[in-house]
């Protein structure tokens, strides 16, 4: 077999675009082995660190919001922005295309927003955030919310350069989510348990969910909220303000 192209050496095939016949040697000796040991995510990681440096220098707190589709990321954002902006300047990068109107919903709150066109993409990456930030131009000491694609698998491995990763789970989803998506929980810093207003109607045990989450992650802050009734939101805002206070730029 041709080790260059995997053909059977019958002489009729393409290498690249140019047809040729086989005169070259088919031995393992042609070819040079290069040892790389290169991290496949290195490029994303480097860019994420650049984003992180940019945010830190300006005292910007960047939050990467991850959840399953429909857990309430956009609703939670709408309420948060309505309550905090403009006293605390907020900016949004909208990366969820499940519903095309997410960016419009954010824009209606008066907060600057950039929509990332992820196409069929299942996660945001550091490069997309980098490009969006250049358009959005978040100001000093701002809160930058990044709504990731609704997906608890793929976004787990892509660092965006965020200051914290916020995982949102809703009580309509089942309390064993942490065991089903351990990687996502493992990479998160805080967990919001949303739609808590629906708790009486569903079979969801908050304690059990938290126990599972502790088994797969280092999350130490769990906040029960309802983005629609506003329950528990103050605790979320306190957490945000503490985070933002710690990030204030050195002017």
């Amino acid at each position: 077999m041709c080790i260059t192209c995997g053909c059977n050496g019958d002489g009729h095939h393409l290498h690249g675009q140019e047809p040729h016949t086989h005169h070259h040697e088919h031995t393992a000796r042609d070819g040079r082995v290069i040892t790389l040991e290169q991290d496949i995510l290195q490029k994303n990681q480097l860019l994420a660190e650049r984003n992180r440096g940019f945010f830190e220098a300006r005292g910007i707190t960047a939050l990467n919001l991850v959840s399953s589709p429909g857990s309430g990321k956009t609703t939670l954002l709408e309420r948060t922005l309505a309550d905090l902006h403009p006293d605390t300047p907020c900016f949004v990068i909208e990366g969820d295309q499940q519903t095309s109107c997410d960016a419009d919903r954010i824009r209606a709150t008066g907060v600057p927003v950039v929509q990332i066109n992820t196409g069929k993409g299942c996660h945001l990456d550091a490069e997309m955030v980098n490009a969006s930030v250049k358009h959005l131009k978040p100001t000093q000491d701002a809160l930058l919310f990044i709504e990731n694609v609704g997906n608890l698998v793929c976004p787990a491995m892509f660092d965006l350069g965020e200051s914290a990763r916020v995982i949102i789970i809703s009580v309509t989803e089942g309390d064993d989510k942490p065991l089903k998506y351990p990687d996502m929980f493992h990479s998160a810093d805080i967990c919001l348990i949303n739609k808590i207003d629906l708790l009486p109607y569903v079979n969801f045990h908050v304690d059990k969910m938290i126990e599972y989450a502790r088994q797969v992650s280092h999350i130490d802050t769990f906040i029960q909220v309802s983005a629609t009734t506003g329950q528990g939101m103050d605790e979320w805002y306190s957490w945000l303000k503490e985070k933002a206070g710690a990030a204030v730029s050195l002017e």
């Binding site: 070819g31 040892t35 698998v153 787990a156 942490p178």
Partner: protein, 113 residues
């Protein structure tokens, strides 16, 4: 399916290596993928053919070295093998563990021409 972007990142890495070596293409590539790296091998295979088309990897064979999961207990320092992130320490049942192997996602080596 993040495996497609993983496959595309591998193509980028291979292209850079080929350019640097003044070569034309890659005939063989060896990957190291940890069992806890969050990669589904079937999905990677599926994405692969799409990602390598018309690239330096178009004719490359690929070999994958699987790296088993290994963790260290943060309480008692016992090192043990893990298949999933939520496993407790077999010695002290402690839940706090640090993954020391199994998260790898690397291009180990390439054969270029």
């Amino acid at each position: 399916m993040h495996e497609l972007s993983i496959a595309m990142s591998i193509v980028d890495i291979a292209r850079e290596a080929v350019e640097k070596a003044g070569a034309r293409e890659v005939s063989h590539i060896e990957l190291e993928i940890g069992q806890l790296a969050g990669i589904e091998l079937r999905a990677l295979d599926f994405a692969w053919s799409e990602a390598v088309r018309n690239s330096v990897l178009a004719h490359a064979t690929k070999a994958i070295h699987h790296i088993p999961g290994e963790a260290r207990c943060m309480e008692c320092e016992t090192v043990f093998s893990i298949q999933a992130l939520h496993q407790l320490c077999p010695a002290c049942s402690g839940p706090f563990t640090e993954v020391i192997h199994g998260k790898e996602l690397r291009v180990h080596a390439l054969t270029v021409h």
